[in-house]
């Protein structure tokens, strides 16, 4: 009886780990699409700050807004 319970718990643990792994992989690998009309999502790196600044400066003459959010 105890052996069956341990086996069931182990099976559940493996299943939970699998689900968590799949969810994590999906979060990492799922395609990202921005709304229509926007440029594609850009990943910022330490060496891409000049590009960010250039994009900001490219709209000189217009009011500009920069907002920073957490995605979850």
């Amino acid at each position: 009886m105890a052996r069956d319970a341990r086996k069931a718990i182990a099976t559940l643990a493996v299943a939970a780990a699998l689900v968590a792994g799949l969810a994590f992989a999906w979060l990492r690998l799922a395609p990202r699409h921005v709304p229509a009309g926007q440029p594609p999502l850009t990943t910022l790196r330490s060496n891409s700050l000049p590009d960010f600044r250039a994009a900001f400066n490219a709209s000189e003459g217009e009011a500009r807004v920069v907002a920073m959010f957490s995605p979850t």
Binding site: R32, P39, T42, L44, V66, M68, P71, T72
Partner: protein, 133 residues
């Protein structure tokens, strides 16, 4: 994410305005393990928006560095504390602002976004109404 929705609704109030928006998503809390999904990116649907994923917090670090170097320029009394992350914030910049090594001075910068959305609306409206430099 309420802040992102609030910003999108605000932009819709200025449908024809000469306005450009850069939205930066960054990992701040433990669940931020990857770039925002399409559903999240869709919260800010305005066509004048460009969206970024900043996994290394380079933009936040740049702001914090700039404030550290010259707090008064950005309206702070003192440098931000070590490890500070700029997030859930919105900044409005004037039409003549240029971003060289240091971020330009902001017309308005504050957060949480949902709490400053009215002030943001006023700042944008005033900037749009101001005569070009």
């Amino acid at each position: 994410m309420r802040g992102a929705s609030a910003l999108d609704h605000l932009l819709a109030e200025f449908p024809e305005a000469a306005l450009r928006v850069q939205v930066v998503w960054e990992p701040v809390i433990v669940s931020d393990v990857a770039a925002p999904l399409s559903q999240v990116l869709g919260l800010v649907a305005d066509r004048r928006v460009t969206q970024y994923w900043d996994p290394e917090l380079v933009l936040s670090d740049d702001f914090v560095r700039a404030v550290h170097d010259d707090p008064a320029r950005y309206g702070f009394d003192e440098p931000l504390p070590p490890g500070f992350i700029a997030w859930d914030v919105v900044g409005v910049f004037g039409r003549s602002a240029r971003w060289e090594r240091e971020p330009p001075v902001l017309v308005l910068s504050s957060g949480p976004v949902v709490e400053v959305i009215d002030a943001t609306r006023i700042a944008i409206a005033e900037e749009l109404a101001a005569a070009p430099d």
